[in-house]
């Protein structure tokens, strides 16, 4: 198959980790007789510096023509005091909205030889394996009005959803549950928010279409507790944008392997943007020591979700596991008796194992 991939390295360690993932994708193309073509575009702080905008039109156009997009990370102290339209995050929020990437999938899974780095006790976190499905283009993030009023004496933001927006993300979550352990936890704040009551109603309406899936409603405050006290009780979690932002970051630290977590942001079709969950880590940028595995695993998600290349995706995931099993790791991971390597060597080991 021929596929065209746009790389958005972004800021900080973004360049190093996307380049590592590109090496892996090229090896996969060779092994499986595919043709992957690549093109790099600017986003975030780098795009502000080069083009005066965190999301140049040229970047949007290139992404629209691509079969999938792989992003590194955006942000850094250099741009922290910029006015809000010139902030790196605006590039990320903008590309999600422009490409209608409403479904953010974040699998959280432990690697057994990293579990000792978890802040949780092994017996609490062991065998946890969940998928957080976060609505990504609605809610408080994009609702209007979002403004100061009465000469700055008041402020409002708006949590807005349409029925269609809620339906499509909930269907996506049910579909995902069908491919997993068939348990769906829908998280809301229905005892307070009207939008949550509508969310809960829609989950109940769609439920009969998936008779095999068991459904549980959970309040967001209870979910924040249970993620810690019993992470293994979750299979698929579906929630709105802001709750998803908070809960998915909370979940990302449970297994001690934040540097290993990939994510996919998908539109109605198979098109998607793939990125590691970790940030741009400006403190170690440019040193060649960043952990490329979350981005490499994001590339695997790209193969699975956008290109329907399940075997190729699995091949990458196995190679990553095997590399860790052999003790290879970057400085952010603490693996007993392992060999600490840099980004280049870590990538070479994975490529070797493919």
């Amino acid at each position: 198959m021929k596929k065209h991939i746009v790389l958005l390295p972004g800021d900080g360690i973004g360049t190093e980790v996307t380049s590592a993932a590109k090496d892996v994708l090229e090896t996969i193309a060779d092994e499986f007789n595919h043709t992957f073509t690549f093109e790099s575009k600017d986003i975030g702080g780098t795009a502000i510096d080069q083009h005066g905008s965190p999301l140049p039109q040229d970047t949007i156009d290139a992404c629209r023509k691509a079969d999938a997009v792989l992003l590194g990370a955006v942000g850094g102290p250099k741009w922290d005091n910029n006015p809000s339209h010139l902030r790196p995050e605006k590039g990320l929020l903008g590309i999600r909205k422009e490409l209608n990437l409403f479904a953010n999938l974040r699998p959280v899974q432990g690697f057994s030889n990293l579990l000792h780095a978890s802040p949780l006790k092994r017996e609490v976190v062991e065998n946890s394996d969940m998928l957080i499905v976060r609505e990504l283009t609605g809610g408080l993030y994009f609702g209007t009005p979002s403004e100061r009023r009465n000469n700055g004496s008041d402020v409002v933001d708006t949590l807005a959803y349409s029925r269609e927006e809620i339906e499509r993300i909930i269907r996506r979550a049910f579909d995902a549950a069908m491919l997993r352990r068939k348990h769906l936890t829908s998280v809301d704040k229905a005892n307070v928010l009207e939008s949550s009551r509508m969310w809960r109603e829609i989950v109940e309406e769609i439920k009969p279409e998936y008779p095999e899936v068991t459904v549980e409603h959970m309040l967001v405050d209870a979910a924040a507790m249970k993620l810690i006290t019993s992470p293994t009780q979750f299979d698929v979690i579906v929630t709105e944008n802001m709750f998803g932002d908070i809960l998915s970051d909370e979940a990302s630290v449970l297994t001690g392997s934040l540097g290993m977590l990939p994510s996919a942001s998908l539109n109605e079709e198979a098109f998607g943007l793939y990125e590691p969950v970790h940030g741009s880590a400006p403190d170690i940028a440019g040193q060649g020591i960043a952990n490329p595995l979350a981005t490499i695993l994001s590339a695997a998600l790209m193969l699975r979700h956008s290109f329907r290349m399940e075997d190729e995706a699995k091949r990458i995931e196995c190679a990553v596991s095997e590399a860790l099993n052999r003790g290879y790791h970057t400085g952010d991971l603490n693996v007993k008796d392992g060999e600490q390597v840099n980004t280049h060597k870590m990538t070479a080991v994975v490529v070797e194992l493919l």
Copy 2:
């Protein structure tokens, strides 16, 4: 001193735990030569059953005339499918708003002989000691519009704040930090929300009034991570209503002693409503086995914050610690080599130690 206290036992174990706290308050009155008078009023599900409203006017009037209010808990499966104006939680939200209880203080502290029950590793959670200051009468909880639109095809909720509402909670948090380790973490989502940008500006404006306090701004998603990975880095956390709901529940499970956590909800003056952080636990209600310690510790907060009785408050807190040290505990706490007792005995032990 003479003080009049309204008890709002509410639902589930609320009756048992408020009655335990009343015993403790009566003992304190005897010991320190105070006169505490008590009056019980309905709220929540019980009030719905008795008066057709989760917050009868008579309850509001009684609270307004009192010097402080002690609440048990509201809610239970019996009322879970009621229409939203007849839900127990409406009573709680209503009384907060009616009495202008804008400052919710939740101290989270470990008890060393309960730490083994924490889901976190001892070395991660040991010595954590934080105070979460949550804005309680604004934001998404009370903003309008909060409604369906276009025949139910759209829904909005509104996150609204006035400058005064933000200023007063931030001042409260700075004041609290001055009495503690003088470090304040202000949590927001300033990279997305206009209300958070205003919140952050106001923190910066007020900061010079408290030159001894070090201030840190943290995004809510990062805070959800750091509460787990490094809980000891926090002293006072201040945040808006919904973020506070999520983060304070997340924090409440860190130390393994949810059944021990008190809270205070205060107005502009010293008046306040005090309640345990745990819920109404309908599964064990009426069995006489509920843990009364969080409510007893809430009564101690009442003495400290509303009545300025610091010695009396400390006396209660020491008695509770001592009771635990001697191994007495209710069934929800798992204390090695201790004696498991019921609500009555647990209370009697604390009274004895006063």
